[in-house]
Amino acid sequence: MGKSPAEPTMTFARVDQVRAVAVPLVLFVLAGLLATGPWPFVSPVAPATLVPVWATDPTPVRRPTLKPEIQLAGFTYRCSDCHRLFPSPAETTRSLTQHAHIVLKHGINTRCFNCHHLTNRDVYVDDWGREIPADQPQLVCAKCHGPVYRDWLHGSHGRSDGYWDTMRGPQARRKCIECHDPHQPPFPPMPPAPPPNTLRMGGQTRREDEHRAEDPLRIYRRMLAPDQGDDASISDDYRAMSAEVDP
């Protein structure tokens, strides 16, 4: 009712005028935003991990001289220099007065003269009391550790440094005491080098990162202790992790 025919034309004109201003305006604002880059690109990649120098150092963990020598107050003495003058008793169960820094943790091997020669302290001793030169310590170890010595001879145990192709370069097979302390033979524990961070782009929890929701041995544990449920078989580590996720 009372609607004049001019009104729609009027509306079209308004819309057209607004559009005529708005379209270039929006485009120019867009151009300005894109050109100035108000949202700088932030890489989701983690920065490089700092790797300590020892992590890539190929030198063996121990560097024994393989000589019957001792360093005291800046001087180097042969073992026999003292032991020629001061013979020690054959039985060494009493506490040491010299070499007190040596901690002997070699299983049931608790006697010095199982390995060291009783009269000639510059050499080691074999099972028949004969001398083993100081630069051949593997023959001492072989007295007890037969299978390991066999594997070491064939290269399955221990480090082989240098060239795999001995026609092209030298190969050095590291001797027992270049990794093992003869008085405390287990290979020394060491801190691990940095773990990978590739997929750690922030915000990931341990639970999401590792598929460790279940104890891999739970079936066997349940077989061994059938009255206990799954919960009892989950170790403390897993229990702590599930506590993090399920409050």
Binding site: A20, A35, S160, D165, M167, G169, P186, S235
Partner: protein, 342 residues
């Protein structure tokens, strides 16, 4: 308001489109704005580094296997020149051929590995792997003793010292399979198996489709999602065309048993750095080699043997109880083991 609307450009006229001044200005402003927006949208191209666009000789370079010796020599010099321009470091890019009568095999003693990850970082340094984003060829999996369940393994472990009492460690890297599924998957033959058993990639031929990564059952292939970043001072100048020369963004890479070293008789970097001597490398065709002894005499385990890839990478064990310092079955009261045992 029945008069003609002068500002409406083409719509106003009763006899077809007419161009008025106002209409021209409006459309012109919209067109200029649109052009400016498009120009601004593509403006990041200004920051495109020059070496992101291939040069003529790089674009028309032939496949590694089709190159003549002269062409190959020219390509090696080109790579040296590019590294010199980009990093300012003098490098030697070689291409040692496979040795006749040699088939490389790797053996790894799981009884002795302590999980120190020195192999991982020695490999990164030797092979000029990207530090950020981080690319590493070796993953050291930590697993609970008594199981070999890869699904529950953990390669992010970071205790104060290793080895941990209840865990063992299994480093995984490219197994250099005799039947490599990655080579079958490649649509452009950018990766192939060399006569000495090493599967290599021509980084200049790879199109970055990542099919090989999906095909590998050992997760041994890595993709350069971004341009690899190696600090200039840490670049290893001893390079091989098929191994550790700088890679570009968008190509695959993988362990090559350090072929620029091993084809010259040296040990791979991971073997050289291993403090425990758990890693063994050599020629399986030589009956006197260390790996031949291990394969004949030791108890050997093949990872995912059932997938039929016939790897050249073997895990082996020592005799039970040969680690005298460790009790065979450690049982502590209060733990799940202790409860189960009583």
């Amino acid at each position: 308001m029945n008069e003609t609307q002068p500002g409406q450009g083409g719509r106003a006229g009763d006899g077809g489109p007419q161009l008025t001044r106002r209409g021209f200005l409006r459309k012109g402003a919209a067109a200029v704005g649109g052009a400016a927006a498009v120009a601004a949208a593509v403006s990041p191209l200004r920051d495109l580094p020059g070496d992101d666009l291939p040069t003529f000789e790089k674009f028309f370079q032939r496949h590694y296997k089709e190159m003549t010796p002269a062409e190959k020599e020219a390509v090696l010099r080109r790579v040296e020149r590019e590294v010199k321009e980009r990093e300012g470091v003098e490098v030697r890019v070689g291409d040692p051929p496979p040795l006749t009568g040699v088939e490389f095999v790797y053996a790894l003693n799981i009884s002795r590995c302590i999980g120190c990850r020195k192999c991982v970082h020695a490999c990164v340094k030797e092979n000029n792997l990207s530090r950020s984003p981080e690319i590493q060829y070796i993953r050291v999996l930590k697993m609970e003793k008594g199981s070999i369940d890869l699904e529950t393994s953990d390669h992010h472990y970071d205790p104060p010292v290793v080895p941990e009492h209840d865990s063992y460690y299994m480093p995984v890297q490219c197994h250099q399979c005799k039947k490599p599924p990655c080579v079958k998957a490649c649509p452009v033959e950018a990766t192939w198996q060399e006569p000495d058993g090493i599967t290599v990639i021509d980084y200049d031929w790879c199109i970055g489709c990542r099919y090989c990564e999906a095909a590998c059952p050992y997760w041994a292939r890595r993709f350069n999602f971004a341009a690899p970043e190696v600090p200039a001072g840490q670049l290893n100048p001893d390079m091989g065309y098929l191994s550790n020369r700088p890679r570009a963004k968008g190509v695959m890479e993988k362990c090559t048993y350090c072929l620029h070293r091993t084809r010259r008789g040296r040990m791979p970097a991971c073997v050289e750095v291993c403090p425990t001597g758990s890693r063994k490398f050599g020629n399986v065709l030589d009956p006197d080699s260390e790996v031949s002894y291990i394969l004949r005499q030791k108890r050997v385990f093949i990872l995912k043997e059932e997938v039929g890839t016939v790897p050249r990478f073997f895990y082996y064990f020592d005799e039970r109880g040969s680690r005298y310092h460790e009790p065979i079955a450690p049982v502590e009261p209060g733990t799940a083991d202790g409860e189960a045992g009583t």
